[in-house]
């Protein structure tokens, strides 16, 4: 059985169907990318896994337990941590508080001090800014804080939604390097990205989404060479 298994789910936003009969799997220890243009349903997929949306049919299971249609706070208890698009830091709280609140769940809260050190090692910049309000951080720092907050939860699987969004290339590189590091330390990563090159090159496997359906899948390297990717993006 797979670590995370999504089986033929259909998801609606109100009356609008966004995901069509979608299936995919993530194995333990893998880095899996989901790439695709805007509106392809990538974020919706993550939101469905983390319980913010419920599929109307199909099943999501994690470590052989059915997890779909459970409240988001329950999903966190399973060890599935979602770092949402646009960082969504708690703007009026300090960086450190944001990190601490990441460790709200029972598994993580006993190890706060230790994990926070790890996060600071990964992103030394956060250490410098720990007492600043999150709203005063730059875009790159906010992204670091958001990922750091995800790590604080001791995820079994970390789901990142567009971590490179709006970042300058130089910062983007830092972020991707950090993601690689997180994966190397043993956390399974499910990455939703627009930046095909960076995400595919650090992923073990990847899925290409179009219109709420998987149109391609394969290893990161394979897909990187696939000309269809460029077509999907540039429409040629």
């Amino acid at each position: 059985m797979s670590f995370l298994k999504i089986d033929k789910i259909n998801v609606y936003y109100g009356d609008i169907q966004v995901i069509f009969n979608l299936s995919l799997t993530v194995e333990k220890g893998e880095v899996v990318s989901i790439v695709g243009g805007n509106g392809a349903g990538k974020s919706t997929l993550l939101r469905t896994i983390s319980g913010l949306l419920f599929p109307t049919s199909g099943q999501i299971s994690f470590e052989n337990q059915k997890i779909n249609s459970k409240q988001p706070e329950k999903i966190v208890d399973y060890g599935i941590i979602h770092v949402p698009e646009g960082r969504k830091l708690f703007s009026l709280m300090t960086v450190k508080e944001n990190l601490i609140i990441g460790a709200y769940n029972k598994r993580a809260e006993t190890k706060i001090a230790e994990t926070i050190d790890n996060v600071y090692q990964l992103f030394p910049r956060l250490k410098e800014r720990e007492n600043q309000l999150a709203m005063t951080l730059s875009g790159g720092e906010q992204q670091m804080a958001a990922i750091g907050r995800g790590i604080m939860a001791h995820p079994k699987i970390l789901m990142l939604d567009e971590p490179s969004l709006g970042l300058a290339p130089i910062l983007m590189k830092d972020i991707f390097a950090a993601i690689r590091k997180i994966a190397d330390l043993g956390t399974t990563v499910l990455l939703v990205e627009q930046d095909v090159k960076n995400s595919l090159s650090l992923s073990d496997r990847a899925y290409v989404l179009e219109h709420g359906q998987v149109v391609m899948e394969g290893s990161g390297k394979e897909l990187l060479k696939n000309p269809h990717i460029k077509e999907a993006y540039l429409g040629m």
Binding site: S50, V76, P84, K88, L92, E97
Partner: protein
């Protein structure tokens, strides 16, 4: 001059107590984003709870506080859980569900009149309490001891709630939920439980305010109404959701009420309070200490 000092002291003391009565309102608004029109009624319930504890056991009012506050916490906790939560679930995507205003107003009618039905319309006050009528006399200046104790309690309570929000795990979760409830749930925070807790804290604050009032105030079923509108004005003046704002808003009102009558008829101070309220609202709609947010 000495009169002015006396009035200012009284204004600050009574104002702090007003701040305390409004504290729960601001906490509940800050987290749930609803105006709790039943807040005055919760204060009234708190006064009855304190009254019965003190008259039944004969203990010092401020010891009763440690019994009344937890009772009120659970009262608020389950009130939100049973009556208000279903509305939140039904109106998930509405930031400020107007329906909750109606529900809390319904609660107000129910609580006030249930009390009337059960306990009758009599006015009660606790005769044998250690604080009744105690006055501190410094030269020509009189300071009411129960008000002083109330003001100190108000400051301690505000500080305690502030520290709870700043320093504890649950407090941080409450703040996180108030900033962004969806992302908070991604941290593993059950927002509805947080709402219960916030409502519980708000109610407990009303309970504490009630305990500080009973040594010198009378208790009757509609007593909450007297504090209701005042509470709204205080929290908007100070900034909805701000603890410091509630305390300072309370003190401003206390000062107007205390100093104003020396220059005019005391019925006019009410009008001044409304005038100031509107003025602040126009100049700085988020209140004196509110954070500018798109409510």
């Amino acid at each position: 001059m000495i009169y002015l000092i006396e009035d200012i002291i009284n204004g600050i003391l009574m104002g702090s107590i007003y701040g305390l009565t409004a504290l729960g309102l601001t906490v509940i608004f800050g987290v749930l984003k609803v105006i709790n029109f039943a807040h005055g009624s919760l204060l009234m319930v708190g006064m009855y709870v304190a009254y019965w504890i003190i008259t039944a056991t004969g203990i010092h009012p401020y010891i009763a506080l440690f019994i009344a506050a937890p009772i009120m916490f659970f009262f608020g906790y389950y009130l939100q859980d049973i009556i208000i939560k279903p509305i939140f679930k039904a109106e998930k995507n509405v930031r400020e569900p107007i329906t909750v205003i109606i529900v809390t107003t319904g609660l107000w009618y129910i609580l006030d009149n249930l009390t009337l039905l059960i306990f009758g319309p009599q006015y009660r006050s606790i005769q044998d309490n250690a604080l009744k009528g105690a006055m501190l006399e410094i030269g020509e200046i009189f300071i009411s001891v129960p008000k002083l104790c109330g003001a100190i309690t108000a400051v301690i309570t505000a500080l305690a709630i502030y520290l709870f929000f700043q320093k504890t795990k649950t407090g941080r979760a409450v703040r996180a939920t108030s900033i962004d409830r969806e992302t908070a749930s991604l941290m593993g925070i059950n927002q509805y439980k947080i709402y219960n807790i916030a409502f519980g804290i708000g109610t407990a604050a009303a309970g504490i305010a009630a305990v500080t009032l009973v040594p010198f105030y009378n208790i009757f079923p509609t007593v909450g109404v007297l504090f209701d509108i005042k509470g709204f004005i205080i929290v908007v003046l100070g900034g909805l959701g701000s603890i410091l704002g509630a305390m300072l808003g309370g003190i401003i009102i206390g000062l107007i009420e205390s100093v104003g009558p020396q220059f005019m008829s005391s019925t006019w101070t009410e009008a001044i309070v409304y005038g100031l309220f509107l003025l602040v609202l126009f100049i700085k709609p988020s209140g004196l200490f509110g954070i500018k947010q798109d409510w």
